[in-house]
Subunit: 176 residues, 2 copies
DNA sequence: GGGACCATGTAAATAGTTACATGATTAA
DNA sequence: TTAATCATGTAACTATTTACATGGTCCC
């Protein structure tokens, strides 16, 4: 899959000028249910975008710290817009816990129960966080943000529910 | 993320001796909602596993065709079992359509509506296929297969529902 | 003063896709 | 006979993670 890093960065910079660190945090906090980027992708890509003129450094915002605040340029906006008109590529999803669930009859059931508990708990935390975020918003505001929050809520609910059913099944089996 | 290809292959071979082509097909058909592998990963990994003695070639099953049927060895079973006891790594999920949804206010709304329709239709097909598969099974059989089918059903339902809600929102906005 | 967090960066390794090549078999 | 599917493979490219280094700032 062609890398989408530049589009995530341009998209976020089109909404707000910010640092690489901010961008990473934003992705971790809001896009967690459907996207992720590492610093090893973000910082080199920012440099590349800068060299290509699609973003620029906001010198006014440079404070005493080492931070570099980037903002999008006209040409960056064009790049972003063109990408939006291209059909999204097929998604990529990899959940190791599902593989372990499927092959669990080959090993010790206790392990899979532990992993499912952990997975459930972790996504339950995400679910509650996303719900709280959504509840804190005005319903008529930021339609697109609500769309992705709803996605995260739906997906995390599905994860949690599936875990509960699976735990019920596996625990029943172990206690026999 | 350390590559999991070998464990998927060993896991599937622990259930049934088969060719690289069969393995790929099995992953595409049954694991689609949570995993994928390409031939470029499968064939080299099979050769590596063979060299390491974790799988072997089933000569009896070699027919007139060029196909190579692999089966798991004792040492391969040990590798599989050890992996099952290691905590699953954090999942990796990338859905470009969610990015495009989030940034859609920046471009033309018609595009995002088209992509959402396509995404919805594609996952509705998956949903129906998984449901039909599950319905064709005896409920007491293959507990682990039912677990992953249920996962696929839940996730695809969530996708489809989210698309419907999002399409409603975006169409409402466009028609204003 | 120390821990949490802000902030940037890169090299090396690993992972993964894609495009291409080749040819057999099966069923319409 | 022709299209679909079975079947294997690899080289080149691209993507991504990870581990490491460095140091500032904020608050207790």
């Amino acid at each position: 899959m062609r890398t989408k890093t530049r589009y995530v960065l341009l998209g976020l910079l089109s909404q707000k000028s910010q640092t690489g660190y901010d961008l990473k945090k934003h992705i971790d906090e809001n896009f967690k249910a459907f996207w992720n980027e590492s610093y090893g992708q973000i910082y080199p890509e920012l440099k590349k975008l800068l060299k290509e003129g699609h973003i620029k450094v906001d010198d006014k915002q440079k404070d005493s710290r080492r931070n570099t605040v980037y903002s999008i340029t006209k040409s960056g906006q064009k790049v972003l817009q063109s990408w939006l008109e291209i059909e999204p590529e097929k998604e990529s999803v990899r959940l190791e816990i599902l593989l372990k669930t499927y092959f669990s009859n080959f090993g010790n059931k206790e392990f899979i129960i532990d992993y499912l508990e952990g997975f459930k708990e972790s996504h339950d935390v995400d679910l509650r966080r996303l719900k709280a975020f959504k509840d804190s918003m005005h319903p008529s505001d930021q339609r697109e943000l609500i769309r992705i929050l709803d996605f995260g809520i739906k997906i995390n609910k599905a994860y949690v529910q599936w875990c509960e059913e699976s735990l019920y099944e596996f625990k029943k089996e172990v206690s026999l």
